[in-house]
Structures are given as structure tokens and as C-alpha cells.
């Protein structure tokens, strides 16, 4: 099938690009490990309430770290896309009969790989620190958060193609990064906060992914939160891929 073949070709191209810049692989791994090393002790010292019981800090925190990694792996896509736009690569590929969705998917799949592989490493290290692993749940966490990476990656690429300027893209991405991550309860559960904060959290699509990831990591697979999480994240990914493809169809310097 041509589409699958082309997606694979673009995926391989993007993987090679990443392997030639190993600095990104290193920072992709060092950031979550620093969170584990530096933030977890901080969290441990504030734990002890009903929403963050002492002794289970890591079990709440690791799914959050994974969600943060998924977000970070995807949101960088736009920078490369702008560079490819400026060097004419996208224009050249658009004159070939290649599928525009495949063109987008090459980058998206690379970002998913760049989330899953370091994610597995982080889980392994967290287990060493006392994180309780529920394997089926963790596998589903990776699937769910891979969808989150795909949604972020396609959105970032679409933003890059629309904004065309690194500066504008940086402003938008850093502008949404804080509210999105904070209001999803990645670092601290939103249940610690006041009601109005929790209401705001419900407006954030990422919130549902993080809630679902916490349930799954705890080994409870059949909760309503898990269903909602997959539904919202899946819909966000589908919408972002549709928008990204549209932007690739019209991409122009």
C-alpha cells in the first residue's frame, strides 16, 4: 500500500535526522530523569494528605512525568517544519505525488518513538526507586500518551506551517505550555487545588489523558476516567492530524 510505504519512508528519514543530532536524544532523557531526581524529593516532603498519600508519591508522579515527556516530544515538531519550509524541502516534496498525510506522519511517528523509548527507560529507573509497576496498565499508558504525542506533534507542525516564523511559534508554544501542563495536574494532582482550578482543569484536553494515565499506572484499567482519557486524546489526535494534513496541502513560504 503506497500510503503505508510512504509513511514508512518519511518516518525513516526523520529517524535518521534525529540520530544525526544525538543531543536531542540526550536532553529527551535527561529532563525527565532530572525531574525524578530533583522534584520527587520535594514532592515527598509535601505528601501526607488524602490526595497525595505518603509512600505513593512516585506512583502519582511517574504517570505525570510520562505525560510531560509525551507533550515535550510532540511540541518541538514545528521548529523543524519551519526550517524545512525555509529550505524548500516541503515545497519539493509537495510537487511529488507523495501523500500529504504521510508527509506529516513521518515526523509524528518519529516524535512518538522519541517519547516511547525514553519513556520505557524512565519507567525502568523509576522502578529502581520504588515505583510499583502494573505491566498491562503501563503498556496502555504508553499507547494513550503516544496518542497525546501525536496530537501535540501534528498541532505543532500545523502551527509552524501557519505561523512560518520561529519567533511566533516559540511565543505560542511557551504561552500554552504552562497552562496546559499545570492545569492537567501533571506535577501535582489538581485535587490538591481549589474548586475553580479543578473546573479550569476540566477544560484542558490534556487533563483527561493524565487522569487516565494515573488510573492505568495504578493497575485499574476499566475506570470511566480511562475511557474518557482515550476518547478525548484520540479525538484530539484525529483532529490535529486532519488540521496538520490540511496545512501541508497548502504549505507555502
Amino acid at each position: 500500500m503506497t500510503f503505508a510505504l510512504q509513511s514508512g519512508l518519511f518516518f525513516r528519514r526523520k529517524l535518521l535526522e534525529t540520530l544525526r543530532q544525538p543531543v536531542w536524544i540526550i536532553t529527551g532523557l535527561s529532563t525527565p530523569l532530572l525531574y525524578l531526581a530533583l522534584f520527587e524529593p520535594l514532592l515527598r516532603s509535601v505528601a501526607g494528605g488524602p490526595s497525595l498519600p505518603a509512600g505513593h508519591v512516585l506512583n502519582v508522579f511517574v504517570p505525570g512525568i510520562l505525560a510531560l515527556m509525551a507533550f515535550g516530544a510532540g511540541m518541538g515538531a514545528g521548529w523543524v517544519v519551519i526550517w524545512e519550509l525555509d529550505s524548500g524541502v516541503i515545497e519539493r516534496l509537495r510537487v511529488t505525488p507523495a501523500s500529504r498525510l504521510a508527509l506529516l506522519l513521518g515526523g509524528v511517528l518519529r516524535d512518538v518513538a522519541m517519547f516511547v523509548l525514553p519513556g520505557v527507560v524512565v519507567i525502568g529507573i523509576a522502578i529502581g526507586f520504588g515505583f510499583t509497576a502494573h505491566w498491562a496498565g503501563l503498556a496502555l499508558v504508553l499507547v494513550l500518551l503516544a496518542l497525546l504525542t501525536a496530537a501535540c506533534s501534528a498541532t505543532s507542525a500545523a502551527l509552524g506551517l501557519r505561523l512560518k516564523q520561529i519567533g511566533s511559534l516559540a511565543a505560542v508554544v511557551t504561552g500554552v505550555q504552562l497552562p496546559l501542563t499545570l492545569l492537567s495536574g501533571i506535577l501535582l494532582p489538581l485535587s490538591l487545588g481549589p474548586d475553580w482550578l479543578r473546573v479550569l482543569g476540566h477544560l484542558n484536553p490534556m487533563y483527561y489523558a493524565v487522569q487516565a494515565a494515573r488510573d492505568l499506572a495504578a493497575g485499574t484499567i476499566t475506570t470511566a476516567a480511562v475511557g474518557t482519557g482515550f476518547l478525548v486524546t484520540g479525538a484530539a489526535a484525529a483532529l490535529a492530524l486532519w488540521w496538520g494534513t490540511r496545512c501541508f496541502q497548502q504549505a507555502m513560504t
Binding site: 524545512e84 524541502v89 509537495r94 510537487v95 511529488t96 513560504t253
Partner: protein, 343 residues
Amino acid sequence: MPVAESPPVAIQAHGLRKSFRVKTQVVSAVSGLDLTVEAGQIFGFLGPNGAGKTTTLRILTTLLPADAGEAVVAGADVTRSPQRVRRRIGYVGQLGGADGSATGRENLLLQARLYGLTATAAAARAAELIELFDLGPFAGRTVRSYSGGQRRRLEVALGILNRPGVLFLDEPTTGLDPQNRANLWNQVRQLRDSGTTVFLTTHYLDEADQLSDRLAIVDRGRVIAEGTPAQLKQRYSGDTIVITPERPAGLARLEQELASLAFVRSTETRDGSIRLAVTDATQSMAAVFTVLADRDIAVRAASLAQPSLDDVFLHETGRSLRDAGEPAAQPSSGQPAGEQVAV
């Protein structure tokens, strides 16, 4: 992959229009453009910056939908069957388009696979192009490390990988040194000789003049003149003879007398010389000398001034092409339209 059978007409466009919204203004980049390009030619598309060359090219290569009008390229309609057009054309954009983080060979292999070649056929085609464009010494290095000329060679190789019936080149020699420019001209001529129609935009007068078999001169989104370079120059300015008599006395009378000759279209006296626009300089020269001999006028210098394509542009627009550049009417340019800026 068989060589695409070229139809006698490679490009046929009618009434193309495209405008962009720049801030609050609507700027017309292409305004009712008609074009016919016969197969097997090098067709030059000459005009100042902002004349609508790149926008036209993007419409013809399926990159940009036109607001109005239609275009058939390599036998397929750009709006109704863009995929068929894409299979039959090659394109080398102004920005180049080689992927800097991949090697030259990887660039070629990916492009080949995208046109549907199997892995084996792609490797063979890549090897063939590496040989043809002499990319061998650096085909295994990432493109980022290439010189300008090496990069341009790779990009042209990418453009003709699918053996296109029509190859589009957008300002292909901009930024190249004279040596690489001459090499590229040769490659373009070889492609034409092997049956490819080459459509190239340029704002260089000499490039349009020397490389094109036929050319269209564009200004403000319209074709203002079209023909072979020789025809155009002949049609609009004829040849020019410059006579400088030994003594300036009687210059006005001499000019009058020469102006009455049948083949002289116009005369002008400047700095002690008479400039005669004639229909055919080589034939007219003898007649002019006869007049000079009859009147016993000693001549210090007599020369033929060849008209240039700039004379054609000047004749049609009242501006010199060298000064006519304006900010490109592109969606992202954000420049005010219609303001003239020297190139």
C-alpha cells in the same frame, strides 16, 4: 519508468489569476495570464521581482490553486488532475529543496521511492544521477556540508529524477558563481536536447536571452511580450547603427537625410553621434555608408549596437527592467504593493 511521451504543447494556460491578502490590502500577483509553451523548448519567463513569476510557476506546478483560469501542464489539468501533473513534471524551486540533514544519496533514494520506484530501481536511478551530475565524491555526505554549486547540482538531479516531460526551474542560477552558472546552462541545454521541455523563470536579461528558445516577458502579473529572443529584440527595437562623423558641423542635416531612408525607423543625435534604429543593421550599413560617401563626410566611428531585451521591456512598460523590481506579492511578504524599489 518510461520517458513520458511529450504532447506537442507542454504548457497551456488561459486567464490565470491569483491575488493575495497582504494585511488589509488585496494584492493581485497574477492578473489574467495567458501562456502557450511548445514541447521540447527552453522557455524563459523573464520579469522583474514581484512580476508574478513565482506565483505563476506555483500554479503550474500544482503548489497553489489559481483564483481563476485554467492550465494544462504535460497533458493534465492542474486543478482537476494534480496527481497526474505531479507525476509528469519536475520542479526545482528558488529555495532549492534538498534536505540538509540527509546525504545526497538519501535525498535521491527518497525522491525515487516517492515516485513509486522499487528499492532496487531507486538505487539504480540514484547511481545514474550521481554519475550524470558528478556527485560521486560527496554523495555520502550530508547536504549541509555542500557548496552552493554542489547543492544546486543535487537539486537539479532531484528535479529530473522522474524523467519529467516538463521541468520547472525557478531562478535556477541565482547565487551561483559564473562557472557553476555556465555548467547549469549546459545541463539545461542537454535536457532540452534529450526532449525535456524546460520552463525557467529569471530576472537576468542575459540568461533569458542566451538560454531561451522562446520567452515571455512578464510584468505585473501579465505577459507583455512573447517570442524568440531575436524576434522580440527585432520587433521592438530593430537594430541600432551608431555613426560618429569626424566633425560635428552639419550633424542635424545629416540626421535628416539618414532619417528619410526607407529602412531607418528612427534617429537620435546624442554626444556628437547619430543613433539610427534600422530594420536590419547588416544590410542597412552599406546604404548608410553610400550616403556618407555621396556627401563626402569623414567618419570617425561607426558601430552596430545590438538591442537588448531591456529595450523590449522599456518599450512596453516605459521602465527599465533593471529598475522595475518591486516587493514580491507573496502571502507572507507583508510589503505594501505597487511601491517600486530598485533591485
